[in-house]
């Protein structure tokens, strides 16, 4: 049995209380009984006195010891009498026992004269006897009380158990087994529809009902949240672009698979901190940091294209270099903490395509020479930085015939050959390009007329040598006309320079055409403005 259970406590308290009640009332009863007994004894004694008064009076009157003794002994046989003392005016006649107990004293009058006192009869009550009698009665009373109290207590405990404790224990047990949020409700105990217990149960049920509805609402909400979260996660996890959520100091809080894959691609092991703004991954992190700083200062999203470092062991690093467009967004959470969201779009392919496109623009595929565009770009750069240079336009003579007679392959073969000759003939700083068709252009950093002339004559000599076309077993003779203009001496802008060189080149061509000689002899060069000799 549960020692702190309601029933046990109730029983203990009731037993304790009834014990106290029994004890106190037994004491009280004993007191009362004792007093009653004393009174009763006094009555008894005074009755005894009346019985013996005549004889006692005579004894006292006659001072008769024998008679007095008889009276005293007779009285002493009585239980309530402890001792008897008969006294006359001058002497004590009889005294059986001496005692401290207060005696009951009766006046003895002369048997002949009712007003003449002849002595006193003192009867000492036997208090012990009275006490014993009171005790006996008290004991019996106490026993009866105990029996009565036991019965009342047991009945009270039983009734309390039936009426209060058992329903409460049942309620407690039911409540204990009740899970909040379930439709389970407590039954109202029998006969307690209108009692406090019934009210308690109803209140508990009301509480359970509210809890249930609240919990189910919360459950629906949680489910919605879960779905939403799942979708968000899906969005995040399945994003093709790597996404990273990080603290400003660099700790990575969240990252998706795409980010991991990207790390694998560049051979970097994942760490929780890859430096502020992933600086350890970037080729030029300071650039990003700078741009993020300025963007955030202007409340803008920072974006830019950055090349990632490559730590893979494979040799062709250029091939695998990753370019990403990084978008950095600053997020401030509800608790005023700042986070950075970094999205890294892989733009390597676009970058590669752009590179290829730029190659296509700047290079001639066939001859592996730079294209006209590259030379024009270079010229503009030189002009903008006021660096002097010589521009030479070269047009092949006799090439059209080769194309017509032996086909494009032969023409291409000759173009490639001449290109390589041109490349060999110039210095590192100089540029040679295919200007278009059978036209080439040179840009020489040497600006002395003599130096240019020597270089160009060397080139002319190489072009003028017959080319052996193995496929047709023929020696082909190719010549070239060259027009030269100087920056900044001849002109200050590119178009004029080109035009002057073009004019000079055509002047050479006209001169050679009018000569009517072989292709080789037609070759020659002319300065746009004759040099001052």
């Amino acid at each position: 049995m549960n020692r702190s259970g309601l029933l046990f406590r109730l029983a203990v308290v009731m037993v304790f209380a009834s014990t106290i009640v029994v004890f106190i009332s037994a004491q009280l009863f004993y007191r009362l009984t004792y007093l009653n007994e004393v009174e009763f004894a006094n009555k008894e004694i005074s009755q005894l006195y009346h019985t013996v008064s005549a004889t006692a009076s005579i004894a006292a009157y006659l001072n008769d010891t024998e008679l007095a003794k008889e009276v005293a002994n007779g009285l002493a046989t009585n239980g309530v009498v402890h001792g008897v003392k008969i006294t006359t005016e001058n002497s004590v006649i009889s005294s059986t026992v001496v005692s401290d107990n207060e005696p009951l004293v009766f006046t003895l009058n002369s048997p002949f004269e009712k007003n003449r006192e002849v002595g006193k009869l003192a009867i000492i009550p036997d208090l012990k006897h009275i006490e014993n009698r009171a005790k006996d009665i008290g004991e019996a009373n106490a026993k009866a009380l105990i029996a009565q109290a036991s019965v009342v207590t047991i009945v009270a405990i039983f009734i309390a158990y039936i009426l209060i404790t058992r329903p409460m224990i049942n309620i407690a047990a039911n409540l204990h087994d009740t899970m909040p949020g379930t439709p389970h409700r407590l039954p109202v105990p029998d006969f307690h529809e209108n009692s406090e217990l019934g009210k308690l149960v109803r209140d508990i049920n009301e509480l359970l009902k509210q809890t249930e509805s609240q919990i189910s609402e919360e459950r629906v909400l949680r489910k919605e949240m879960e779905i939403l979260e799942k979708r968000f996660r899906m969005l995040f996890e399945n994003s093709a672009s790597p996404i990273v959520l990080m603290e400003p100091r660099g700790s990575i809080l969240l990252h998706n698979d795409a980010f991991t894959q990207m790390l694998n691609k560049v051979g970097v092991r994942f760490k929780t901190n890859l430096g502020p703004l992933l600086s350890e991954l970037l080729d030029t992190p300071e650039q990003l940091i700078k741009s993020v700083k300025s963007a955030f200062e202007n409340d803008e999203i920072a974006t830019g294209e950055y090349k990632l470092i490559n730590q893979t062991s494979s040799g062709d690093k250029k091939q695998n270099s990753l370019w990403t467009q990084i978008v950095v967004t600053s997020i401030v959470s509800d608790d005023l903490k700042e986070y950075y969201q970094l999205t890294l779009h892989d733009i390597s392919r676009r970058k590669k395509e752009l590179e290829q496109l730029s190659l296509k623009i700047n290079y001639d595929h066939l001859t592996q020479l730079q294209s006209r565009h590259a030379v024009e770009k270079m010229m503009l750069e030189y002009i903008s930085s006021h660096k002097s240079f010589a521009y030479i336009l070269i047009d092949l003579n006799g090439f059209k015939q080769v194309n017509d007679v032996y086909g494009h392959d032969a023409g291409n073969e000759i173009l490639i050959y001449i290109s390589s000759q041109l490349k060999k003939s110039i210095r590192h700083d100089d540029i040679v390009c295919r200007w278009g068709g059978d036209e080439f252009a040179l840009m020489l950093a040497d600006t002395s007329i003599q130096g240019v002339k020597v270089t160009l004559e060397k080139i002319l000599a190489k072009i003028n040598k017959n080319y052996y076309l193995s496929k047709y077993d023929k020696n082909i003779a190719i010549g070239a006309s060259m027009g030269v203009s100087f920056y900044p001496r001849d002109a200050k802008d590119m178009q004029t320079l080109i035009g002057m060189a073009d004019d000079a080149m055509y002047a050479v061509k006209r001169k050679s055409d009018s000569n009517g000689a072989g292709e080789n002899e037609k070759s020659g060069l002319m300065f746009a403005t004759e040099p001052v000799k």
């Binding site: 001072n63 008769d64 008679l67 002949f112």
Partner: protein, 149 residues
Amino acid sequence: MKRFRFIIGTLIFSVMFNNVMADNAAEVKDIVVVVNKDNPVEAMSRSQIIDLFMGKYVAFPDGQVAVPIDLTGNDSTKRLFYQSLVGMSLARVNSYWSRIRFTGRARPSVKQSTEDDIILYVSETKNAIGYISRSKLTDQVKVVYPFYE
């Protein structure tokens, strides 16, 4: 005292009424206690008379031995005497004596059959004391306690 006298009077009256057939009414009324003329005792109280006749003392208040004289039988004067003295019938007086007999005390030992004999005995015995009707009173004895009055 008035109350006491009334009670005594009532008793005497009832006794007189009881004996009206047998005795003279005047005799019944007056009883006197008498002693020898030479006895120095002149007057006694009722209690002293009771003490002598009921066996408490055997001497006069002055110390000389007293000899109380009783009447024999069931004499009306005797009856009246005890009735007047202690308010008891003769039967009760007898029972009193029988109750205390074993204690060694004795009722008056000298008995005379008539009042005249008492007068004679008292007049001849110096320390005798007796009772007679007032009507029988002579000069030979001295009254120490009269019941009338």
